[in-house]
């Protein structure tokens, strides 16, 4: 057999600096030490400038808002400590519904989105109706504003008075969310499927794999990995849009805030609900950033596609 081991990729190519120094008795030169001193000083300066500019910007904004003519009134209406304390437990109660909706709708959206994306990539005359249906579906529900979709489903379906069809606003609201988000997520999946290089398909087919096996074992695993960051982005978006089921009358965090606000004519409960949503999405957003960075790093290391 030909010898290939000489050509093996260099393993553990980056020994630590300390180790390298020990091996070849390296002492940093005066030039290097001077440059590093300069870089440290420059970094300290940059940090100081950033801190000052942040403080000044914050102070200016604070002064401008606090000195506005309507500030005392606004603070009382939107930022009342009393109403915030009263609203928090009720809003948190409502939030439980949002979280359940996110879990169930998120799972349904991923499954339905993937099915629609696959349907759109099927070749062959047999699949024409399926392909056309999937295309029409994504075109329609991506264009339809979510609020209108919600109103149609939540008030339209019960108006039909069908036997055995639910009139539960939570179920109907969730259905509307799934309808809209599946269209978005299907397009994300489709972009992933189409980003897999045709040579991968050629390699799989040349091994004798059928079109379906190629999709299942070769194309989809690579496609799904690539679209994880945009998918998480859509899930963040879904998380806050679960608040829209309040317009159907389901008592979620937003509707709980609305009930309190309309009783007291104070909008603080809305602010509380809003801040809770923000607090929930931040970890998810950071997680998305982390996954994206990791994917980019992997790609930078070089794969073959």
């Amino acid at each position: 057999m030909s010898s290939g081991e000489a050509a093996a990729a260099p393993e553990g190519a980056a020994p630590s600096l300390a180790k390298a120094a020990a091996e070849d008795a390296y002492t940093p030169s005066a030039r290097r030490l001077e440059r590093e001193r300069f870089k440290r000083a420059r970094a300290r300066r940059a940090t100081a400038v950033a801190a000052c500019s942040t403080l000044i910007t914050g102070a200016v904004l604070f002064v401008a808002v606090v000195n506005s003519p309507g500030w005392p009134r606004t603070r009382e209406t939107f930022l009342s400590g009393h109403y915030a304390r009263e609203a928090l437990p009720k809003v948190l109660d409502g939030l439980w519904l949002n979280l359940r909706l996110l879990a169930v709708c998120g799972a349904a959206v991923l499954v339905l989105g993937l099915l629609i994306a696959v349907a759109r990539t099927l070749r062959g005359p047999v699949f024409f109706p399926l392909r056309a249906l999937a295309t029409a579906y994504t075109d329609f529900f991506r264009g339809l504003p979510l609020v209108i979709c919600l109103l149609m489903v939540v008030f339209g379906v019960p108006a039909l008075r069908l036997q055995g069809v639910t009139t539960d606003p939570v179920l109907l609201g969730g259905t509307a969310l799934v309808l809209t988000y599946s269209a978005y997520v299907a397009e994300v999946f489709r972009a992933g499927i189409e980003s897999v290089h045709p040579s991968q398909r050629a390699a799989a087919r040349s091994l004798g794999l059928s079109a379906r096996q190629t999709l299942r074992h070769v194309i989809l695993p690579q496609a799904v990995r690539r679209v994880v960051p945009p998918l998480l982005n859509d899930l963040v978006s879904l998380q806050k849009d679960t608040g829209l089921v309040s317009i159907a009358g389901a008592v979620d965090a937003v509707y709980a805030a609305q009930i309190l606000a309309s009783k007291s004519f104070n909008y603080t409960p809305y602010v509380v609900a809003g801040l809770i949503f923000v607090a929930l999405t931040i970890p998810m957003t950071r997680f998305t950033d982390w996954v994206t960075a990791r994917t980019d790093r992997r790609r930078a290391q070089g794969g073959i596609v």
Partner: protein, 262 residues
Amino acid sequence: MSDVTDANPAGSTGTRPVLRMEAVRKTFGGTVVLRDVDLEVAPHTVTALIGASGSGKSTLLRCANLLEEIDDGAILLDGEDITDPRVDPDAVRRRIGVVFQAYNLFPHMTVLDNITLAPRRVHGVARAEAEERARELLDRLGLGGKAGEYPDRLSGGQQQRVAIVRALAGRPRLLLLDEITAALDPELVGEVLGVVRDLKEDGMTMVLATHEMGFARDVADQVCFLDGGVVLERGTPAEVFGAPRQERTRKFLRRIVEAGRL
């Protein structure tokens, strides 16, 4: 590597060609890529396709594996017309191994999974058995320690050898090699060509498109010079390289010699 070619079907007696092309024509849009191509590949022989880029070498191989549909003519594998639309192309591809210029390994699978995917999913071999054979082949190609690695952790030469193992795992009747050293750094070419030499020793029937003229001269039983989609000249390496009859062949070989590739 004695059992690499042990899948020869019962009907492969005598000198009936493994692969036979009859007046094959292939066009892309208005461009004729293959024109009246005839080719015969006898069992246990190596056929080298040479010619400039765009002369139709790769297209010929893709047609033989049914990755492209031909416009006219016929391609026969062990006497069976595989270009008949009633033939199941997946069943044909199972009998042919292909190695690509860019390796085309599956980046999301380990080396072992790359190799055992087709045996398990297509040929219905049990996982343990498929893995055992994969490890045997890896050992023979000097890749014993790499079964659990992902392709992007391997050098180009190692990836291409894995691709060869993957093509062999289905015990193909015929191996098609499409410029398999063209993407490799020069110092890695030898290790891959060495594998091809060993396969020839074992009696594997192969068709290879190549720019490595020295290698084609050493290893091939038959050399075909393609030019503009036509097999302009064919014969033993001695005939084609030593005494080319066509002016275009002489010109092509002169350019190769000038480039230091022969």
